[in-house]
């Protein structure tokens, strides 16, 4: 694999303790430009703590995070977002009663130009609807007819699509996807995987957290195996089998060339 030397997103020696529990134990992480990096690990391995640290949801006790080589520190998810790291949470973080367009612009609404927007804070709904429609059709999600329909009227896969489209529309540097297919059926998972590949083809690197090995092996360029609060290894999905990966992450076996 040819990769540029500077990772888009990098972490060194992250530590996060909750009381006596150490969720992250000097964890390292690298995401390179244009790749899909899958993060796998057993339950309780510290995957979600790692992701929370990278997306600004928790502040690590120790360690360093670099974005495009520059050290960064996020106090909350909003700061990470402003820096260009978008996260699609497993819960999707959509407001079911609000429209697709409202949801896509939640927290970064567009205002009208001139007095109406500057003084009265009036939203530019036509522009927001137009942008939302454009982003959804770019990702082939325009089976959704009406951009003003409430998100709760969409199917699970379409909701996932809206959440991914929101991230892709604004995530200039990194998109983190937490279990995007866990709640979906076969056909809908298929679409979401295509969507992920599509986003990568636009040049945005993706961190994919998933329990689903077939999905991981289908789309990932590299697989980060998390175990006992730290990175155990990064493997190439073309050089390892799914059962290898499961064996590594459960501790049944160690990856080759790794001294215990």
């Amino acid at each position: 694999m040819t990769q540029t030397p500077t990772p888009v997103l990098q972490a060194r020696g992250l530590v996060k303790r909750y009381g006596r529990v150490t969720a992250l134990d000097r964890a390292d992480f690298e995401l390179y430009p244009g790749e899909i990096l899958a993060v796998i690990g057993d339950n309780g391995a510290g995957k979600s703590s790692l992701i929370k640290a990278l997306s600004g949801a928790v502040r690590p006790d120790e360690g360093e995070i670099r974005l495009a080589g520059q050290p960064v520190s996020f106090a909350d998810p909003l700061q990470a977002r402003r820096a260009g790291i978008e996260t699609v949470y497993q819960t999707l973080a959509l407001s079911p009663a609000l429209s697709i367009s409202d949801n896509m612009f939640m927290g970064r609404e567009l205002r009208r130009k001139g007095v109406l927007g500057d003084w009265l804070g009036m939203l530019d709904k036509p522009a927001m609807d137009r942008f939302a429609r454009q982003k959804l059709s770019e990702l082939g999600l325009m089976t959704i007819q009406n951009i003003t329909q409430p998100v709760e009227t969409l199917s699970g896969g379409q909701r996932q699509g809206v959440a991914v489209a929101r991230a892709a529309a604004f995530g200039s540097r990194v998109i983190i996807l937490d279990e995007p297919t866990a709640a979906l059926g076969v056909k809908e998972s298929r679409r979401v995987l295509d969507l992920i590949l599509d986003v990568r083809s636009r040049g945005i690197p993706i961190v994919l957290i998933s329990h689903n090995m077939p999905h991981v092996f289908e789309v990932a360029d590299r697989i980060h195996i998390h175990r006992l609060g730290r990175r155990l290894a990064v493997i190439d999905p073309r050089a390892h089998s799914m059962s290898d990966a499961v064996a590594y992450m459960t501790g049944a076996r160690l990856p080759e060339g790794l001294a215990a």
């Binding site: 959509l94 009036m122 009227t153």
Partner: protein
């Protein structure tokens, strides 16, 4: 093993386009979807039916005079309902709105009449007090993370006690206000539109609803209020500073209660620490009948205006028919229950 299969079997329906397809649904499900999209239609239909029924049954009901009288009668509670709506949209409830209102009217009256402050200044101080009361509620809800119901149950009593303390349980009489602070009675002043008689209190109520309609539907703040009430955690993850939104809502509710206080002095004609004892519950009644969900995030701000009018129409119509007052309560009670039942039903709508 952690290598789980897909938990959900493939669903054909999920694969289908999510455009609305009313034709394929039964009429009842179609109605459910329609009301889900337009929740304000329920109170509008009820209001129209009530107007038609009382117009047919009650003598003189359909006169411009009587209809404008209804508007006058609901002006204060309607304004309070606007404040209540904001809080309920965030999935909270504010039991202290009535107490804030009465306390504020006492502050305005005492400062203007007993301490001789210029009336505009007394009004400003009252508004500041009302805003502060809202801030106290907001701080307790956002900082101490107390449930809004309990918070405002507590502050309701606290504000009422302050109200009795500041007023000395004395009423400032109408003649005194006329002589020393006529501005306090501004919103009770009447004017004619044809044969309809309106008060400035009615205009104030309509203005408050118009302003909130704009803010909730056409500004980012409004969208965030809905998002916070719809799903707090999602709103947080989507990057909303939810505590700020909640804080602003409680403060705005307090300020609107302050306006309602000014309006109430005009309506009653005096400043009485024991007035509007039931205003809290009446405001919640208007909100619920108006189709705003007690679970938050759903409903139009115009609903509570219609809800307040529905209660006014029932009261007026039943009175004109010569029915005992107790049946007004009886009718209001059933309206609430039916409104909440319809809300539950609408919320069950499936995709």
């Amino acid at each position: 093993m952690t290598d789980r299969p897909d938990p959900a079997p493939p669903r054909d329906a999920a694969d289908a386009v999510a455009s609305f397809d009313l034709a394929r649904r039964g009429p009842l499900a179609g109605l459910q979807h329609f009301l889900h999209l337009y929740p304000t239609m329920v109170p509008i239909i009820v209001l129209v039916l009530a107007l038609a029924a009382f117009g047919a049954l009650a003598p003189n009901f359909f006169s411009a005079f009587n209809l404008s009288l209804i508007a006058q009668q609901v002006a204060v509670v309607g304004t309070l309902a606007a404040a209540q709506s904001l809080v309920i949209l965030t999935a909270g409830i504010d039991l202290s709105v009535g107490a804030i209102m009465v306390l504020t009217s006492v502050i305005m009256g005492r400062l203007a009449v007993d301490l001789g402050l210029p009336v505009p200044l007394a009004i400003l101080c009252g508004m500041a007090g009302a805003g502060l009361a809202g801030v106290v509620n907001g701080l307790l809800v956002t900082r101490l993370r107390l449930p809004p119901f309990i918070t405002t149950l507590g502050t309701w009593n606290v504000f009422l006690a302050l109200n009795y303390y500041l007023s000395g349980r004395n009423t400032i009489r109408s003649q005194t206000l006329d002589a020393e602070a006529p501005l306090l009675k501004l919103f009770g002043a009447r004017f004619n539109v044809g044969s309809a008689v309106l008060t400035w209190g009615v205009v104030l109520m309509l203005a408050v609803f118009a302003l909130l309609y704009y803010l909730l539907n056409h500004t980012a703040w409004g969208r965030r209020v809905y998002a916070v009430g719809d799903d707090l955690e999602s709103a947080k993850l989507a990057g909303i500073r939810t505590d700020r939104v909640l804080m602003s809502v409680y403060m705005a509710a307090g300020l609107i209660c302050g306006l309602a206080a000014w309006s109430s002095i005009g309506r009653v004609g005096s400043v009485s620490p024991t007035s509007f004892q039931e205003a809290n519950l009446e405001s919640i009644t208007a909100v619920v009948i108006g189709g705003i969900s007690l679970f938050g995030g759903r409903g139009s701000i115009l609903g509570p205006l219609i809800g307040a009018l529905i209660v006014g129409v029932f009261n007026s119509g039943l009175r004109l028919m010569g029915v005992d007052v107790l049946w007004q309560l009886f009718a209001t009670g059933w309206l609430i229950i039916v409104a909440v039942a319809i809300d539950q039903w609408i919320r069950k709508v499936s995709s």
